[in-house]
Amino acid sequence: MSEAMPMERETELPIEQMPNLRLFYRKRGRAKYISHLDITRCMQRSLKRAGLPVWYTQGFNPHMYMTFALPLALGYESDYECMDLRFTHLMDFEEIQSRLNAALPRDIQVWKVDFQKEKPLAITQADYRLTVYPQDPERFRQEFSAFCEQPEILTQKRTKKGMKTVDLKPEFTLLGHQTEGERCILTLRTTAGQKNFNPTLLTDAFWAASGQTGYVQVLRTAVYAGEKLFE
């Protein structure tokens, strides 16, 4: 999966020249109940358990240097999570991945280790797969796709300054919709990054407008920087 690292352990660079590494991981199953803040701590401890040479910031209160690209809401799953960090010396990427995976909880697993290519600021969009459990899947599918066709989708959004009316229409494209037994599967591409969009905002707007109800599971499947995958 990941390209082999040509550098050996001995070739230690001064820390300011050490490249940032990017870890791509999945957050599935029981890991969906872990909040973003708790994921940070879980990652720190897993890195420590794996005995990897993570770089600590200097100064009065040294801590592991790590940043996360696009924080995921509690309750969502994701196949495309990114975390950036720096090592004190470089190691083989495969080895990082296998050692860390052995130390991580079963439901959080790294699938690629690479150098950081784009800055997190480059993120523009993300893909989500929504599994909806409506009262009537076929009726939901038809009404929901029609709902998304409207020229404007106004809804109330809670902000720091109280409730605000926003238009959801420019924030997403409905890429697909199909029913599978009692469920309905939706695929969405949304704006992400600087301007973030939680897909359940859209389903909530639909429930409010239609009077229907249902349970929604969210899985993030990809993150983009412009036209390309974010790497």
């Binding site: 109940y33 897993s46 130390a103 909880p105 439901d107």
Partner: protein, 617 residues
């Protein structure tokens, strides 16, 4: 929607879902078809509190180290979760398997504080298990309990099949083996319990009859089956260095009260503070060697990835190898980016070098527990701390840039007068004055002295077990008076809800007649009693009244020296003669030297197999 999705939706609709999902690193999942005993280790409080508890970590690791036993964790769900579970008919489950509680062979509770008793009933009920022992005729769903409150478990004797007195590392596996054997041979619950009560430390309450005098005092406690011991003696571990200690902890995802690696320096305490139940329950002192501690500390940090390690014991300064231990641990923790959390230590005889190292370690705020405001009263309780000790340490701390001090006191101690209470505030006032006279103080910041008071609760197996607690009126009067005595804005006064202390006192020295009170109060909606927002004293008063019992009888009444206590058949190694001696000395404000200075002959040394019964060198 399938079962799994329904559960997921439910969990995501409550606060802190992470409490209810398990799956943490270090948690142990086995195949239920490969084990012959399924054990549910239940902590009768929230996940965050239970997961901070060392005893649970030890026993979880110990039981799961047996290939044929699977031990899971169960905590009390918070009220929002419970409500949804009840609405959907979902049973309380083990966090590892998600299987309902009534599928487990043994349901084991740990009794850390009296106010968690009602949570036991609520958890059993939520797990689909009848709360009264008599309504559980079979061997399956055996309910057992361990922990410090077993020193007087009578208020819950009707609900629990078997109590474990003392330390569990040897006793609990013995109970499990006995159970597995009984299960295999198809023995009845009664047959199993008769065998189990032969195991040292095991107390089966149903095997004892209690008779009362017309005024409610206990007349006699007698075994009602042949072969049942008249007195049950607690179990101890002989050698802490060779005893089992987990190499790994379950590392929670969510924030818990104490989320770090813990090293247990020793059990027992040499001090003999007369109010302190733990000081008597865990006698005699047994230390773990520094070498073993260092190894266990490294193992734990490596397997958990924790960024902090703390030392646990009743009085860490008394640990005889504290200096070599800190010296070694300090180097290891520094190299590995681990914070070494130091307890408040008496540091007078440390080397310069170690002092310098320790200074570099960030320390939590400055706290002292003088417990009483006057030297006389501190002598009554045998608390070996003088005003001079406090002032010296405060001066050092102020010079070092500290400006906040927390002082803990315990109003309501035997022989206390209003003067003693006034002196609590006076002591705080003197600390404020000391700060202002301290040339090296941090001049940018004002001093803050917090006075935190919690009402004394007389506890069984201590020299104060004969003493009646202050009445609610007296407690409130003292608190208000102390508040009135404060003239400085630099002093903040914190006091604990007094009614919970009263209920704690009722349970602490209660008898079996309280079982129905516990049941009825629970039925009236009392549980999570240790949570102020969830405490309904009026419901408890009502339940007591309905049973014809009073708070006064249990909490406030002074007991005669020859009274038979509800726990007279339970021995913690410390002799009643010694406790009486200490009680008499207390009333004359006479102190007793600590165990290292001179053995006071408490009797706990009888429990030791080694050293010809000598507790300390």
């Amino acid at each position: 929607m399938d079962q799994k999705t329904a559960l997921e939706q439910l969990i995501l609709s409550v606060q802190k879902p992470g409490r209810y999902v398990g799956g943490e690193p270090g948690s142990i999942v086995k195949d239920k078809n490969e084990v012959s005993l399924r054990f549910a280790f239940c902590f009768p409080d929230t996940y965050e509190i239970g997961m901070s508890h060392l005893g649970m970590k030890i026993l979880y690791g110990l039981l799961n180290a047996q290939p044929d036993i699977w031990c899971e964790r169960v905590f009390a769900p918070w009220v929002d979760m419970e409500e949804k579970m009840r609405a959907q008919g979902m049973k309380l489950y083990g966090l590892e398997s998600f299987d309902p509680l009534d599928e487990f062979d043994i349901i084991g509770f740990t009794l850390q504080y009296e106010l968690s008793f009602t949570n036991i009933l609520n958890m059993l009920d939520l797990g689909g298990i009848p709360v009264y022992s008599k309504d559980r005729p079979g061997l399956k769903n055996l309910v057992i309990a361990g922990g410090p409150c077993c020193c007087n478990p009578e208020p819950i004797a009707d609900f629990v099949d078997l109590f474990q007195l003392g330390e569990g590392e040897e006793m609990l596996p013995e109970i499990c083996r006995c159970y597995q054997d009984a299960k295999e041979r198809g023995l009845s619950k009664e047959e199993f319990l008769l065998k189990a009560c032969q195991i040292g430390g095991v107390y089966v309450p149903a095997f004892y009859d209690v008779e009362y005098f017309p005024d409610g005092r206990v007349k006699s406690i007698t075994p009602n089956r042949p072969g049942v011991p008249a007195v049950v003696e607690k179990r101890i571990i002989q050698d802490l260095s060779t005893a089992y200690y987990p190499k790994n902890f379950v590392v929670p995802f969510i924030d818990t009260v104490h989320d770090r690696a813990i090293l247990e320096l020793m059990r027992g305490c040499i001090r003999g503070c007369r109010f302190c139940q733990a000081g008597f329950l865990y006698r005699p002192l047994r230390e773990k060697s520094a070498e073993v501690l260092c190894r266990q500390g490294k193992d734990l940090c490596q397997s958990t990835g924790y960024e902090e390690i703390s030392l646990s014991s009743l009085s860490s300064s008394d640990y005889s190898e504290i200096e070599p231990l800190l010296d070694q641990l300090y180097d290891y923790t520094q190299e590995n980016h681990i914070n070494l959390a130091l307890p408040s230590l008496r540091i007078d005889n440390f080397s310069e070098e170690l002092l310098d190292k320790i200074k570099a370690v960030r320390r939590s705020g400055l706290t002292f527990a003088p417990e009483a405001g006057t030297q006389r009263l501190r002598d009554v309780i045998n608390k070996n701390i003088t005003e001079e000790d406090i002032f010296t340490s405060c001066r050092l701390a102020f010079e070092g840039g500290y400006s906040a001090v927390k002082l803990y006191f315990m109003p309501g101690l035997p022989t206390e007068t209003m003067y003693d209470c006034e002196q609590i505030i006076d002591l705080a006032q003197q600390v404020v004055g000391l700060y202002h006279r301290c040339p090296g103080r941090n001049k940018d910041r004002g001093v803050n002295v917090t006075v935190s008071v919690s009402t004394f609760v007389p506890k069984p197996q201590t020299p104060f077990q004969w003493f009646g607690q202050d009445t609610l009126d007296q407690i409130v009067e003292k608190q208000l008076h102390m508040k009135d005595c404060i003239t400085s804005k630099k002093i903040s006064f914190k006091y604990h809800a007094s009614k919970t202390s009263v209920l704690e006192a009722v349970f602490a020295r209660g008898d079996r007649r309280l079982c129905d009170v516990v049941y009825n109060a629970w039925k009236k909606g009392c549980y999570f009693d240790s949570w102020d927002e969830h405490f309904y004293f009026d419901r408890w008063e009502q339940a007591l009244q309905e049973a014809g019992l009073t708070v006064w009888f249990y909490a406030n009444r002074h007991r005669e020296l020859d009274e038979i206590f509800p726990w007279s058949h339970l021995s913690y190694g410390v002799s009643e003669a010694f406790l009486k001696r200490e009680w008499e000395k207390a009333q004359k404000a006479q102190t007793t030297p600590n165990c290292r200075q001179q053995c006071a002959g408490c009797g706990a040394n009888r429990l030791l197999a080694r050293k010809e019964g000598k507790c300390v060198e």
